[in-house]
Symmetry: C2
Subunit: 467 residues, 2 copies
């Protein structure tokens, strides 16, 4: 049998996991693997960038799981600073450009993996491209931000007393970057749409995040519509203007969200969903294409709770996708059943978590539901350091099926959402959840775990709602 | 309709939860509620005793969730220091003795709740009843131990430099008491059966606990069979003798385990299981008795994984039982489906957790299985403070159904077992678990949560084991 060639577009989590897993299953005699990455880094943790910027993770290379050299030692021909310009599906080949020399060449494939990731949303505002305005999607972005920060700060222990940072957007990236900049000594202002930060939560839960951010000294501005980034005499960003006000800024960070990077796929006529991501089947094959797979931040995933496709850029999905793609492309088998929408984050010691559907999302797909919100503690109330945890639970009317959980609280709050993630996957009712045998000891939980307390209240709400 | 009378025997978690829930559903005009408690305290957290003894919880009353007075304010006639001596099932009445006056009287019931708890195993060894030998089952026990400790210690900040404590048994209570005594400054020796401490874990996982206890300066002695408690001239315990050696002791703590307190039930002819606990139906009614319920540490519970009855004395089950009993006795409805055997604990900052079956338990019920053990970290490896976590997973041969999980590690280890507890309840396979959408962010988890890593390895072991 002749050697086949697997091409991978994108050298981060999904792409290189796919390449590595395929290599585990097939040796170089059977399968040649070539991967293209347009940036300077491979296989890194983008989710770790806020902690590197904030100084918790000392150096950039700590975020790199596997270097290009390590990949090459595993017989993966990873070509860095090489951008794929075009996919010719009919001809089963791609055109790639060496970004240093400008040279281009076509490379044929038997199997193709698209792992082109996501790009930060960058609204076309005046000044958005000025120096001092930073996204934080890639390691290159992070390095550029750090370069701006170091020229802004006064050199004393790298701190930035009296300097001002404006973060646009208050989703996960926004609040994590607010913490990072606060940790560096900045006065931080977060401008966000909507009434509350963390729009991935319902507003009543987002309010708790808002209050905690207030307590940390982070200024949040609700319903803020940014209209312009103002620049100073040196051409660098100096302030962010909304419709209502101006916020002086030594540095501006964009945390507005990301969208699937599917320019190549669109040009090649591959199927995209309503969020702009590639559509795949359960084996992560691009729909209608038996020899093209896609995974990571460039695809849409099936939300098992709503039955809809969503775009959820998250390293943990990207790694699972890569593993499954590599298994299938390497002659093994794997399938990705979908997600339930779990996400966790923190701002300093406030932990934030969600899984399943928010109220708005439930309504949007026609689900009727009841809600229950409870306040409890992360350990037995008498245990030293016991601290608050608020849990909100959504259950379907009539059936009582769990629809979603949101948690905001101190240590031990975030990962408790995993209990609900498994229950969602298993399609449990909140009544069934009241009997869950969860770990109990005073340092770890009240005798009724907060999740059980919420489930009891939600089960009662289901009964009270009647038919 | 005439007022009915509900009698409750036992004034702690199960009994008073039942009384309180029944009261919520039925007012005093419909239901008279009388509860008997032979001790000095009601509704307290026995699980908190080690932390009170160790000084983390400042005072005894912190452990009391609801005082007798508070219960009486809710129209529950709680009679403290009153011991039920006999149950006359045919006559539907109980004989109770006022322990202060010695007076006895019969009280009739329409409905009866047995919540008599458990008693520490106290082998009939010479010296076992000497002053200075302590169980830690009740608040009274805890107070007696603290009295011994305060006469032992030298008064300087209540510390006990150079004093020696011997703990017999290395289950949850044993290791928690070892920590408590270490925190007070004792030199602690733990004598235990078997090769490793924490016999609720497989020995390979118990070894990790052993190593951690070594590191903390706690001496553990394996395969130790205690034959005698030696006493000094003052009649107080002075050493513990095993077959092989003598261990000097200023205080001896028994953590050998507990057994159901079912003396009354046995005498009344109520059905007991092979572990000596009361047998109930799903509504927590004593089998064969429509108007008698039992719950908490005096009953056996159905283990949903093995299909067998087990005795699992744990506050979280007792509270659930009480809630369900109170609902049913109050004319509502509730059922307890069973447990999966979840338990969590810690020794200083080492967290210990299990759910489902250990190898020995799986073999005992005829299950064939594969195991997978992995070492990972509690946060992204590059996140500051990332620390080790070891996860062992058992899956059934052929079906791949999850059978059990054990976790030993640092912060964030214990409550991760809840993920497995829910998966066990839902009868998931380890292959299904590999796709679980668990919370990921660098401060909380590697991009592959340790549970996912273990599930992947276990799924591979199932495949490799073939038919």
């Amino acid at each position: 049998m002749a050697t086949q060639r697997l091409l991978v577009i994108g050298g981060d989590a999904a792409g290189m996991s796919a390449a590595s897993q395929a290599r585990r299953l097939k040796g170089p005699d059977e399968l040649e693997i070539v991967a293209f990455e347009r940036g300077h880094f491979s296989s890194y943790s983008a989710c770790g960038i806020p902690y590197w910027v904030g100084g918790k993770v000392p150096k950039r290379d700590d975020l790199i799981a596997r270097t290009p050299t390590e990949h090459r030692e595993r017989d993966i021909d990873l070509r860095m600073r090489t951008e794929v310009m075009e996919i010719d599906v009919a001809g089963a080949r791609v055109r790639a450009r060496d970004l240093q020399t400008g040279a281009e060449e076509w490379t044929g494939y038997d199997k193709l993996v698209l792992a082109t990731g996501a790009r930060p949303v960058r609204p076309p505002l005046p000044g958005i491209d000025a120096p001092g305005v930073h996204g934080v999607q890639t390691l290159d972005d992070g390095q550029a931000l750090l370069d701006t920060l170091s020229r802004t700060e006064d050199g004393v222990e790298g701190r930035a007393r009296g300097r001002r940072a404006v973060v646009v957007g208050a989703g996960y990236i926004g609040v994590e970057m607010a913490e990072a900049l606060l940790n560096r000594g900045y006065e931080v202002t977060v401008l966000h749409r909507g009434r509350q930060p963390m729009s991935t939560l319902d507003p009543d839960m987002g309010r708790l995040v808002h209050e905690a951010m207030d307590g940390l000294g982070i200024t949040t501005v609700a319903d803020a519509e940014v209209v312009e980034i103002l620049t100073g005499d040196d051409g660098r960003a100096s302030a962010v203007a909304t419709k209502d006000a101006r916020y002086p800024a030594d540095v501006v960070v964009l945390g507005i969200g990301v969208e699937p990077e599917t320019t190549l796929a669109r040009a090649a006529g591959l199927p995209l969903g309503e969020h702009g991501g590639l559509l795949t089947d359960l084996a992560m094959r691009v729909r209608g294409h038996g020899n093209i797979w896609a995974g990571g931040d460039c695809v849409e995933v099936l939300d098992l709770v709503s039955g809809r496709e969503r775009h959820i850029p998250l390293g943990t999905h990207a790694n699972k996708h890569g593993q499954i793609i590599g298994s299938n492309a390497g002659g093994g088998y794997g399938a990705f059943p979908g997600v339930v929408g779990t996400a966790v984050s923190k701002v300093c010691d406030l932990e934030i978590a969600r899984t399943g559907l928010r109220e708005k999302e439930a309504r949007a797909v026609g689900l009727q539901y009841v809600t229950a919100t409870i306040e409890s503690t992360n350990s037995a109330g008498y245990y030293p350091g016991a601290a608050s945890m608020t849990v909100k639970m959504l259950a379907e009317r009539r059936t009582g099926r769990l629809l979603g959980v949101q948690i905001v609280g101190r240590e031990g709050s975030a990962k408790r959402v995993d209990i609900a993630a498994v229950a969602l996957t298993a399609q449990m009712t909140v009544e069934q959840m009241t009997a869950l045998d969860l770990g109990y000891a005073p340092p770890f939980s009240p005798v009724w775990d907060p999740i059980l307390v919420a489930a009891r209240k939600a089960a009662k709400a289901v009964r009270d709602a009647g038919a």
